[in-house]
Symmetry: C2
């Protein structure tokens, strides 16, 4: 069940995972382009027949799908520079960028192929469990991209721009902001000459519990208990760092409002 | 190497883990008291020779240590009611309560025995890896409690009230607030008819990465990139819920300030 062949633009974390997975699932990768020649060479060495494309001119390519695996803020620029054959589909992999950002070139189709995961080069990952969200404007393009996603993941969904935005905001809270809470904990530990590693069993167990029973049931802590005395003590203690104090205050207030009604 | 025997006050999550661990490590548990008779019976059934104490009157007990495994906001009340033998040590297990909260009864020693972990009844946990923090005012009491902690954990530390406060604030960020970020993500998903389970592979992988390489290196997302366009889009999208918008704003600003300098 071979799909259309593919060209990959970018050789970072996302390309490093998607390109080989597609290449192993009947979606032959023809070309790889990257601003970093070394990155492109590394990626090509992991693929069956792919070659390096020296520029963003893909007018001679036989690929049907051009997959942008590049930083969100490079999509617009690359879209303005790239040339792909008539009838081909230009696709980005960003959760936060609109479909429109891919422009309005006559004869070129556009789509979004958003894998909801954080990728690390060199670290194996089971893509089958990674949800992939497809957004397009034409049924035919949707069909093509849903098939391509379905070749590497069991969890493929067609979403609107609006839903994808909600999904991305939720993902920011669920991964970027949780990580920043850990960064704050880390900085508090360091400033007070305490070892961040001491927190790791707690962090791991709290997350396991949250994933197992759901975050609402798993919530604990002074704000959950409505323990105003401790909240006050903590806020006062944080007074030497106003921005941290503010973060502590607004999150605690949100927890209080949610549970103490 | 038998230590002094122990009485346990409370039969909740903390008691459920500490009492059997101590009972299996040469610290015989003599009595258990709980407001919930059923809870006390369950816990006693897991211990070698322990019996139920019907009240907070322990004046006839032969225990040397009385371990309060009760909610933080019950410590003061229980401390006022409890009677223990002269020379015994009254200990609480809270991260947030001061040592002083145990009062100033002549002939009674006091201490804190704070296991840095979130416990769940019925769920096995390797206490050996759970850090335990000891706070006391007398060397002898410290020695006794450090020994007791060392019998069940490899990670035992003596801390001051000040350090324990820092530790507790860090723990609130690292577990309570991370969990609340997940609760917010959950509510956004539900409100937008999206499935929270789709986020789970991302949540698990982001945390694994953070624990492996540290939260500073692991930070990603629009604020980390300084992507003001997306931040603005997200803040606008959250305008229907002011408190969430505020949380998004202050955390993003803190990330921006940290990395964009």
């Amino acid at each position: 069940m071979a799909g259309p062949s593919i060209s990959i633009i970018g050789a970072g974390n996302v390309a490093w995972h998607l390109a080989p997975a597609l290449d192993n699932s009947g979606y032959r990768v023809n070309e790889v382009y990257s601003r970093s020649r070394g990155g492109a060479e590394d990626l090509v060495s992991k693929l069956y027949e792919a070659e390096i494309n020296e520029s963003l001119d893909f007018s001679a390519s036989t690929s049907g799908i051009f997959l942008l695996c590049i930083p969100d803020d490079a999509i617009e620029e690359v879209t303005n520079e790239i040339t792909i054959p008539q009838g081909a589909i230009l696709v980005h992999t960003s959760g936060s960028r609109s479909l429109d950002v891919l422009g309005d070139v006559p004869g070129v189709n556009i789509g979004v192929f958003y894998p909801l995961q954080t990728f690390t080069k060199g670290k194996k990952m089971d893509l089958q469990e990674v949800p992939i969200f497809i957004e397009t404007e034409q049924k035919e393009v949707e069909h093509t991209l849903m098939n391509m996603a379905g070749a590497i993941s069991k969890k493929v969904f067609s979403v609107t721009s609006e839903k994808r935005l909600a999904l991305h905001v939720a993902a920011v809270f669920a991964s970027n902001f949780t990580n920043h809470m850990l960064a704050i904990a880390n900085s508090i530990m360091i400033e007070n000459k305490l070892d961040y590693d001491w927190l790791k069993p707690l962090i791991a167990e709290a997350l396991n519990k949250s994933l197992a029973i759901g975050p609402d049931k798993a919530q604990t802590g002074p704000a959950r208990r409505g323990d105003l005395q401790i909240l006050d003590k903590h806020v006062k203690w944080l007074s030497k760092e106003e921005s941290l104090q503010e973060i502590y205050r607004v999150i605690s207030q949100h927890i209080l409002d949610k549970y103490q009604t």
